[in-house]
């Protein structure tokens, strides 16, 4: 089965708080390691990938910023993307429009326009012939897309615009974007979930809606933050017995340790059930990522997750 690295664009989506940006960044690192010139494009305007690499100066905002060998990031700014587009499409007149406050008001009032512009930028990054004169082509664009509900709406935006506009540059742009995003040879949608009820449900709904509303098959599902079951059922029973028999004089640390080890087992078991439910709903096993027992996911953490994601590429 061909891996994700054969594509030109990876859309990473998932419910808020599941680690979507983390997985997008880790996929980017893994692809760059394999020798692909890769850019992680954030559509959510949070500059998180650059921050994980210690770049909190906003240098990746609306500009392509190199983070490591073959690895780049950009936090897409719709306004900026628009200016690029106008200069290219309408030349001097485009310049007039892009300098006009009225025109900007028009665009920001148009529903879905921000989404279209963000996607347009992601699409442009994935072209072998870049629009901008100094733009070198990328092998892979990893898109940190908006959260699930909005993610589907976002992906549908180009088609909607193409249908409404019928003819003209926006219609053409909409059609080109839609053709790329719905072509499984070029684009893969990757869902990120946690092994909890809500994220699992949303992932299953996402799969259905992608198929029926856009004709897109979900390429991969990544379950993030799985706690290990270090005890396993047999040891867990012994720990449970030991907890019940614990004498009054036992040291608090020993009691707390038994309790926390047992809790880990319970949580891991509950997570396994959710992973199983997800696998049943998907018809295949999702890819698993371990929980990182670190204060924040920093570069070292991302590198570790990139190791784990390697097989998907």
């Amino acid at each position: 089965m061909p891996g994700l690295s054969d594509k030109r664009i990876l859309f990473v989506t998932g419910k808020g708080g599941v680690g979507k940006s983390t997985v997008a960044a880790a996929l980017g690192i893994a692809a760059a390691r394999r020798g692909q010139r890769t850019i992680v494009a954030e559509l959510t305007g949070q500059d998180r990938v650059a921050a994980a690499f210690g770049r909190t100066d906003g240098a990746g905002h609306a500009h392509e910023l190199q983070l490591a060998e073959r690895l780049f990031t950009i936090s897409v700014d719709p306004q900026h993307a628009l200016d690029d587009y106008l200069h290219l499409k309408a030349g001097a007149l485009g310049g007039v429009l892009s300098g006009s406050r009225t025109f900007h008001a028009f665009l920001s009032a148009t529903p879905g326009m921000r989404e279209l512009l963000g996607l347009g930028k992601a699409w442009e990054l994935a072209q072998t012939e870049r629009r901008s004169a100094d733009g070198e082509p990328y092998d892979l664009v990893v898109v940190d897309a908006p959260a699930t509900g909005h993610g589907i709406a976002t992906l549908r935006t180009p088609r909607t615009f193409a249908e409404i506009a019928k003819v003209g540059p926006i219609a053409n742009q909409g059609k080109a974007l839609d053709a790329t995003f719905t072509d499984p040879a070029q684009t893969a949608v990757v869902a990120v979930a946690l092994a909890e009820e809500m994220p699992v449900n949303e992932t299953l709904v996402l799969k259905r809606r992608l198929r029926f509303e856009l004709g897109i098959e979900l390429a991969d599902v990544v379950v993030n933050a799985l706690v290990p079951d270090r005890l396993g059922p047999r040891q867990a029973r012994r720990v449970e017995d030991a907890l019940a028999l614990l004498r009054d004089g036992a040291s608090p640390a020993v009691a707390a340790a038994l309790q926390s080890a047992h809790s880990e087992h319970v949580r891991a078991r509950a997570q396994r059930e959710q992973v199983q439910r997800l696998a049943d709903g998907l018809g295949s096993a999702p890819h698993e990522l371990p929980y990182l027992f670190t204060p924040t996911v920093d570069r070292a953490g991302l590198e570790l997750l990139a190791d784990e994601l390697e097989p998907l590429l």
Partner: protein, 371 residues
């Protein structure tokens, strides 16, 4: 006591915070506890987990409050002296209802509801979900049916979207600049700094005529609803600022949600919104105290008789859990420091399982209300 004192004199309680921090559960638990104390409470939620929705008897199709069966709470040991109601918000439908009510006549209403831009894209307007949530809240508050309303806010990328929503939606409805632009040969055209026909032709070339026509009628139609909408937005704004309205911040002890909570609190303060306090969910407690971690496995063997292999596993689990407890302690301290000493904080421990039934809600309510 904690949350109960925060809510003294409160008629509307809005739970805000970033995605995935447990806002829905917290809102439901707050509503449950207040219903247990004799109030008639309605919790308005956006997207509850199915099992929680089942526990609350929520019906996604209703878009109207439904009474929650109190028997499960009585069975779980805490009968509700008041009434608990719940509503699962349907944003699209609330928006449609609003258009319906504001439309001057049947024809305008039909034209808007069938306009393709409205139908296909209005859900994508930033802030529309937030706005409809408070608009619904406003209706429920005006109905006078409830002593307390608890709102679980939409999972915005930025909790702040919520506060700006009325403003941004008004601007959007006004679409003044756009209407000006679309009337040929008027001031708007001259604003472009080029002869009108020329700018218009550029715009047409860029957008396509059909899109421009649809957009133009979209904004023309909405423009007709403007006065009604503006009055509506003002009422909603007034509700947000009402002394009986209070925000509760909900966060997890991880760094990003904590930073988001700090930011949100600053904005609430700047906007002079009523504020109750902050709830930190899923906190890992530090149970180690002053004891050292070293030699823990040996002590486990000595005190429990468990085999060395099991004891080493237990010690390893605990070491990781302890690291999380230290992380949480640090982030909570950071939150406390940045919110200021006058802001009350309640910590809810990390539980082993999801909360999805009456007993679970009462358990969370216990942490929130009884410390």
């Amino acid at each position: 006591m904690a949350v109960e004192t925060w809510l003294e004199g409160t008629r509307v309680c809005i739970c805000g915070g970033s995605g995935g921090v447990g806002k829905t559960t917290t809102s439901a638990a707050v509503a449950t506890a207040m219903a247990a104390r004799g109030l008639t409470v309605c919790v308005v939620t956006i997207d509850p987990a199915q099992r929680l929705a089942d526990a609350l008897g929520l019906d996604a199709l209703g878009n109207e409050p439904a009474r929650v069966d109190a028997a499960a709470f009585a069975a779980a040991g805490r009968p509700l002296d008041g009434e608990l109601w719940a509503l699962q918000l349907d944003a699209k439908r609330t928006f449609d209802d609003l258009i319906e009510r504001l439309s001057p006549d049947e024809r305008t209403r039909e034209e808007i509801l069938s306009n393709r831009i409205y139908r296909e894209l209005s859900g994508a307007v930033a802030g529309s979900q937030e706005f409809t949530a408070i608009a619904k809240l406003h209706d429920l508050a005006a109905s006078g049916r409830f002593d307390l309303l608890v709102l679980d806010t939409p999972p915005s990328r930025n909790a702040l979207d919520f506060l700006d929503a009325p403003d941004r939606l008004t601007q959007f409805f006004e679409g003044r600049a756009l209407q000006a632009l679309l009337r040929p040969g008027n001031v708007g055209m001259r604003l472009l700094g080029r002869p009108a026909g020329m700018a218009m032709s550029v715009l047409k070339r860029l957008t396509g005529v059909d899109l421009l026509t649809d957009l133009s009628s979209f904004f023309r139609l909405l423009g007709g609803l403007l006065d009604g909408f503006r009055a509506r937005a003002e009422q909603v704004e007034a509700l947000l600022h009402d002394p009986g309205t209070r925000f509760l911040l909900v966060t997890s002890p991880e760094r990003e949600p904590v930073d988001e909570a700090i930011y949100f609190h600053r904005k609430l303060k700047a906007a002079r919104m009523g504020f109750g306090g902050a709830i930190v969910n899923r906190v890992h407690a530090d149970q180690l105290g002053d004891e050292p971690l070293d030699g823990l496995a040996a002590r486990i063997v000595a005190e429990t008789g468990l085999p060395g292999g099991v004891a080493r596993n237990v010690a390893a689990c605990f070491a990781d859990e302890h690291a999380l407890a230290l992380r949480d302690r640090e982030n909570v301290a950071h939150l406390r420091e940045r919110l200021g000493s006058d802001v009350p904080l309640v910590l809810v421990p990390h539980l082993d399982d999801d909360v999805h039934d009456a007993a679970g809600l009462l358990r969370i309510a216990g942490f929130l209300f009884d410390g």
